[in-house]
Amino acid sequence: MGFLEFLVKRADDMLELGIAHAVVVGAAVIIATVLGVALGVLTYRHERARDLTLALTGSFLTIPSFALFILLLSPLGLGWRPVLLALVLYGLLPVVRNTITGLRGVDPAIIESAKGMGLNRRQRLLRIELPLAWPVIITGVRVTTLVLLGIAAIGAIVNGPGYGELIFTGLARVGTPVAVNLVLSGAVGVMILAVLFDLIFYAVQRLTTSRGIR
């Protein structure tokens, strides 16, 4: 059976797994973005807090995904929970780092004139600093999403949702003709999601970034 034939036959499976994969990654990205931006906003003005946050979120990213899934398995059980948490932890560093870089990169003259015009701390943050840091932040989120899509596939070892299931099933059937198709379809599925996510992010980036700073 050819690969394309296989894909057509398994179209329902592909769609279902794809949605599951996209949902868990999408949720992780949203949570990581909210948490990461919050952490960045809270720490970017204090050197020690900043360094500590970066070191901590950095060490999450250093822990191999395979190991992290297993470590989260005991407290969270099988299924989507350990996968979601692991993906959030992996997603934090790029978001936090880019938030901090973006906020610190805002021209001090702009902040001073905002201050001089009587914008209070919150108004400065929401109207000036975050919009200006946004292109940097969203670039971080965009790249993180791609990496998380790949990592999510490994989540299948703890029965996580998504295309990983196809890859591990293929692995279990090494030597059978269907094995290659299974693994390939899993990889291709992730790649399709990657392209889709990237296109969505491109659109979001265009729509949420002021023309004045593109």
């Binding site: 190991a67 610190r104 990169g105 940097v136 790949g150 990983g164 293929g170 990657a194």
Partner: protein, 264 residues
């Protein structure tokens, strides 16, 4: 944006371990990580000692098999990192020559998206499609995956070398090769070092998965625990992997601090 970001990686789309915040580490700073990791190992050791292990657990959790797995893991990481660098750095240099200026954004875009290819898919594909198993297959798989971030890192690093410096160099009569050797590469050393660190961290992580293609490593212990449903074995394997990864990253970080040219 009006303000150029100080970190070159933020716009490039390379997600890698780069706590450049650790420029001025104090002695305390240097000690924190090894102390924490040591305590984790100690706790793990005491806990395992305090338990009565059944025969299955004993088969995985003994000094001999753990040392062997650890050794395999380190060798896999070291060799794959070396090969990654030998390929990625020259390729990065090549891809940043003026010749490729017009296709460069395209190349970077494609490489960025390719980061989404699951590592496990690459490894498993080698096994199921080519029946390519064992150490060599593992190295191929690891290198294939790690090459992208390191390549991106190198390209971005070389691109961000100040164009004025290069022009000044050319103006002083240095040839193109001399500019590359004496200015561009030294100025890009921090970026290449960061690439080394990235490669190490990625490879030490991916090496956990090569157990699936019979290439050993700490993944052996985890998978043994999984297939026999022994939680303790799983956790010991996973914790050791995490400790090793953090330790390698830590050492790479220190090396980065010391090898970085003065003044950069």
């Amino acid at each position: 944006m009006s303000a150029p970001s100080s970190e070159p990686r933020t716009d490039s789309g390379v997600v890698a371990q780069t706590p450049s915040a650790a420029h001025r580490r104090t002695l305390m700073g240097y000690l924190t990580v090894p102390v924490i990791l040591g305590l984790v190992c100690l706790g793990l050791f005491i806990y395992v000692q305090s338990r009565d292990l059944d025969s299955i657990e004993q088969r995985s959790l003994n000094v001999g098999s753990i040392t062997e797995a650890l050794q395999e893991h380190i060798v896999l990481t070291a060799v794959s990192t070396l090969v990654t660098l030998i390929i990625a750095v020259p390729l990065g240099v090549l891809l940043t020559r003026p010749l490729t200026r017009r296709v460069r954004p395209f190349i970077i875009g494609v490489l960025t998206i390719l980061q989404a290819v699951p590592t496990i898919a690459i490894l498993v594909l080698l096994a199921v499609a080519f029946l390519f198993l064992g150490f060599q297959a593992a190295i191929v798989g690891l290198v294939l995956y790690a090459i992208i971030p390191v390549l991106l890192n190198t390209m971005v690093g070389l691109e961000q070398v100040d164009a004025n410096v290069l022009e000044a160099g050319r103006g002083m009569g240095l040839s193109k090769m001399q500019v590359l050797r004496r200015l561009e590469l030294p100025l890009a050393v921090p970026v290449i070092l960061a690439g080394v660190r990235t490669a190490l961290v990625i490879n030490v992580g991916t090496a956990t998965l090569v157990t699936y293609i019979n290439a050993g490593g700490l993944g052996d212990i985890i998978v043994a625990g999984l297939s026999t449903n022994r939680v303790l074995v799983q956790i010991v394997g996973a914790a050791l992997t995490a400790v090793l990864a953090l330790l390698i990253d830590y050492i790479a970080g220190i090396a980065e601090d010391f090898l970085r040219p003065k003044g950069l």
